[in-house]
Symmetry: C2
Subunit: 471 residues, 2 copies
Amino acid sequence: MANKPSIPKGTRDFLPEQSLKRQFIFDTARSTFQLYGYQPIETPAMENLDTLLGKYGEEGDRLVFKILPRGEKLNKLVQSVVGLSESSETDFKQLNPNASSFVSINIGDEALRYDLTVPFARFVVQNQNELSFPFKRYQIQPVWRADRPQKGRYREFYQCDVDVIGSDSLLNEAELLCIVNDVFSKLGLGDIVIRLNNRKILSGIAKAAGLGGYFTDMTVAIDKLDKIGIEGVREEMIKRGLPESGVKKALDHINRKGDIDNVLRMLSGSLTGEAEAQKGIDEVRKVLKALPMEVKQKVQLDLTLARGLNYYTGAIIEVGHAAFPSSICGGGRYDDLTGIFGLPGMSGVGVSFGADRIYDLMEELKLFPDSLSTSGEVLFVNFGEAEAEACLKLAAQLRMEGYSSEVYPDAAKMQKQMKYANSRGFHFVALIGSEELKQGQVTIKDMRSGDQYAVLQKDLVKFILDKTSDE
Amino acid sequence: MANKPSIPKGTRDFLPEQSLKRQFIFDTARSTFQLYGYQPIETPAMENLDTLLGKYGEEGDRLVFKILPRGEKLNKLVQSVVGLSESSETDFKQLNPNASSFVSINIGDEALRYDLTVPFARFVVQNQNELSFPFKRYQIQPVWRADRPQKGRYREFYQCDVDVIGSDSLLNEAELLCIVNDVFSKLGLGDIVIRLNNRKILSGIAKAAGLGGYFTDMTVAIDKLDKIGIEGVREEMIKRGLPESGVKKALDHINRKGDIDNVLRMLSGSLTGEAEAQKGIDEVRKVLKALPMEVKQKVQLDLTLARGLNYYTGAIIEVGHAAFPSSICGGGRYDDLTGIFGLPGMSGVGVSFGADRIYDLMEELKLFPDSLSTSGEVLFVNFGEAEAEACLKLAAQLRMEGYSSEVYPDAAKMQKQMKYANSRGFHFVALIGSEELKQGQVTIKDMRSGDQYAVLQKDLVKFILDKTSDE
């Protein structure tokens, strides 16, 4: 292979420093989730195609990566193509609307997971007899989407989901907001803004404004507020055929700003006849009441928040940070999460942390701790076989005390070994030449201070321990 | 969907207890690797097909999972099928030898990673300017193989690889054996057997026996020794056309047993004229010399070890355990790891831990620590809104001290809440009813001892701390 090797577009390699930082985010999330009693699960990368299709809308279905069948199945597939069977024409046309209509391919019956929510619902139904409810789970795994790659958007990325299923108590919403606050605080991102909405309020607003029959159109328009502004939303609604008087009423409600308790009071007053809106308002109040002040003060009511409204039924949550343009965490309540897999009446609520975005934000704000560096602690320079043998023993002793230590594998030129020590950022370089070997000594160079010490080999561990605990 | 949902054959869901145990294995490996200065990397699940194909032999190529192309690419594919282009006939025939020959499919140009070694080689070449050599990396990620699923063999499983590239020093082999010993000792599997071989010795034996031209046939036969015994190997060799006298000579060498230093001495004496064999013997001796006694005594020279000989060029390593039928770790030295991607002369050596097998073995021997259980520490029973509010505050205090704590989300019947407490294995159940609320108290039930205590709410953290540090 003469060409420089490459990887598929939209995918990434992670170098050691990046991997360690990613691991730090995941470990922080994991330990927090566990403190709240959430338990890890893992699901396979591949799901049956019928588990995934139809769950993400038409656009989502197109972005699911399918796996090519093997052996006998592929044979059948080819026969069906060559035989021009008409059975599954729609499938191919959906994949590519410009395709000629006389051929269709219904290829593959397995696919890569597109998110963690649908596999979780499938998991709960399939393993329901092994679980105790309410079941609180977290899951940190990659997902794949055949999206057009662009800055900050990848075809493979990690999701980090935390959900509770089997309880409709609003304490769950409150608990998740506490988890959100804890995770971000531990990552140094305590100054988040938590935007909260409730589908029932939005729905009540639509009804009160006479837009009950246009609910989806209304929310699709509102969802674009960030991009097109309030006037743009108004135009979009009217373009979609919503009556102008209703649009005005709805937008007056939605555009309310200010202290969250005040806004709820005003809304409640102006939507007195709307039972559903009142229920939504009551839900938001209950969530707020269960929050410690530290978290509550980060919560804003944002009635323009309509993300994924097609399946959220109660709370809608989105977390933002002033230094980042898009949300870094989001989720909500869905009253019938597992119904699609034959287990009705299971209410779930959860949030998903955007690990890649959090990484980018932390990198920008320089929030990763220095201790995450790939630096080793002690590098033993290799002067030859006999000297290296002494080094190996000392390195093993240091590791027993938790110090990462390496013996340079080759008796290479000093310059080359020191270059390695520098590039890897070792704190100490240890030298045992023929003289030190005879004397039972080791020369230690502190690469940060430049100081040099002659230490007895038998005192080395204590020396390093003292040196590092000084700091 | 009426049917019970399922997952693709050969894949698995992991329940919380399993996930925690898997995580324990990975964390143990990771922390050990880092002590030795190995650094984590991650590569994408998908690689370009031409990165993978041709690297795993004909059988391996067939087992690579391909990804279906999207949009325009799929369109072109279908046109080529319908147009019966002859360009890529071989590809499809290779996939399915029974297929009619008039149609071919050259589908997909991306595939799921089949192991971590080839992606690592690709990674090193692609990112060479970002790395300092020798580069010591570990990688813990899933791989996918379209193998026929059976007990203990999955289509998705984790590999846990540790390699050093860019140094041909035998200290690396020794270091890896120390890592192997450390990881398994930390997992409670210190009584491993490390089988060591060297391709150069095998090659020298073949030459000395006049089988130099039959090296591959010889090693393929030897590789089956476990299954067919020494007589079976002899028959297989003869069936493959190896001269009988040579077969006898080779098997006499290969069958030597006993103390490793003795065997090396005998081999060295009887292969005096074979420079390559002598080099191999010398390599094994140097590796042994660099090992601490604790590790050396676990090493056996096993000349029948021929795993993956087609690319190993020096050491071949396999780790076994008396309580498990197959190897739980293996690897070796390959002198030109990155040459296939255009960067020649990079020698690499590494081992791969079989996480799934290690899991099964640890489960069988009950080696997972009790602390890995999914049990929470404190469950607060929910008696209603006001009581729950007090519980939420206490639970938050306990979490600050590192105790996993939950407030049951609903004011459900006592029986239901206690059932949850039992199934989740909580150590303590905390009760704040209306009476406790008035008195600022909390009733604590120790679920292990059955003892019950009345504790002031303000003293709860200290109480739990005392109780748990007693144990």
